[in-house]
């Protein structure tokens, strides 16, 4: 019979629990099945509006560089490649392999059919009310490879 003690402090580890991708995926599957497609998008919009409020404010104040810095940071934390091309009125973000989709596939979990909305809907919601708009111009559900573009609106912000 064994007695064991494990003592860890926060600084002993890096905060990176990739199974959280699977948890979010399950949540999207549940919302979709129980409440429909619209609920998935409404939830993601609510998340973006509330959680990303500081990022949206930074986008208004600093422009597209705020998004560039954000994407480079979060993909960097996950050890994933993220290529950005920034001009004054346009930002293109190319992700060759999405770390979330990669982990979900690795664990053999079924990918939520609306998983790409974690990019499309959230980015559109971040841009709402700013001088910029978001477009998901390419997406591969097998790998999560994506090309996202953010550009200055020609019309008034909505």
């Amino acid at each position: 019979m064994t007695k064991k003690v494990m003592r860890r402090r926060a600084a002993d580890n890096v905060y990176l629990h990739k199974d959280f991708h699977g948890a979010l995926n399950q949540a999207l599957l549940y919302l979709h099945k129980k409440y429909g497609e619209r609920a998935v998008r409404d939830y993601l919009r609510q998340f973006a509006r509330n959680y990303h409020a500081p990022l949206r404010q930074a986008l208004v104040e600093k422009g597209l560089v705020a998004l560039k810095d954000y994407f480079e940071r979060i993909y960097g934390l996950e050890g994933a490649e993220c290529r950005t091309e920034l001009s004054p009125d346009e930002l293109t973000v190319t992700v060759p392999r999405c770390p979330a989709v990669t982990h979900i596939r690795k664990m053999d979990w079924p990918l939520a059919p609306l998983f790409q909305e974690t990019s499309r809907t959230i980015h559109e919601a971040i841009c709402r009310g700013t001088p910029y708009k978001a477009e998901l111009i390419d997406y591969d559900p097998k790998t999560g490879r994506s090309v996202q573009r953010f550009l200055r609106r020609s019309e008034r912000p909505i």
């Binding site: 860890r8 926060a10 905060y15 199974d19 991708h21 399950q26 129980k34 939830y43 979060i74």
Partner: protein, 147 residues
């Protein structure tokens, strides 16, 4: 993509969203679904190895979540205790001053793990009296076998 480092606020927002849709019952329904559909690794480990399986499960998750904790396993007593000195999830929510967390956020840890472990003959207890300081204490104990 929602980064796995941003999942906790997304989780909290999900609970708020569900509560708006269908009250506390809708949140509870989701937690029950989530325990059944997602916590299969814990279920399998606990079914095979009891409290030792629970030790193995939380050894991975608590380290990956960079929790500040002490976990103690006493196989003779059939008991596992986890003292969370600082919960990385609740701690994050407390740090996010611009985001109002779901009021009963920590309750999911009570519902989910109890639902997985108790049908396997393990008693699950969680003391959430200091959850407002991102602290809690979990006890998992093998239920005595009736003669």
């Amino acid at each position: 993509m929602i980064s796995c480092t941003e999942f906790i606020p997304a989780y909290s927002e999900l609970f708020k969203f569900l509560e708006k849709k269908g009250g506390a019952r809708a949140v509870l329904d989701f937690w029950n679904f989530f325990a059944d559909a997602y916590l299969t690794t814990l279920k399998n480990l606990a079914a095979e190895r009891g409290v030792r399986g629970c030790w193995k499960y939380w050894s991975k998750t608590l380290n990956e979540e960079a929790a500040d904790f002490t976990m103690e396993l006493d196989e003779e007593a059939g008991e596992l205790t986890i003292t969370i000195h600082h919960c990385p999830s609740k701690g994050r929510l407390l740090e996010l001053k611009h985001l109002k967390a779901y009021g009963s956020y920590c309750r999911h840890c009570d519902i989910l793990y109890r639902r997985v472990l108790e049908p396997l003959g393990l008693e699950y207890r969680i003391d959430l009296s200091r959850a407002d300081q991102a602290r809690c204490r979990v006890t998992v104990k093998a239920k005595p076998v009736k003669a």
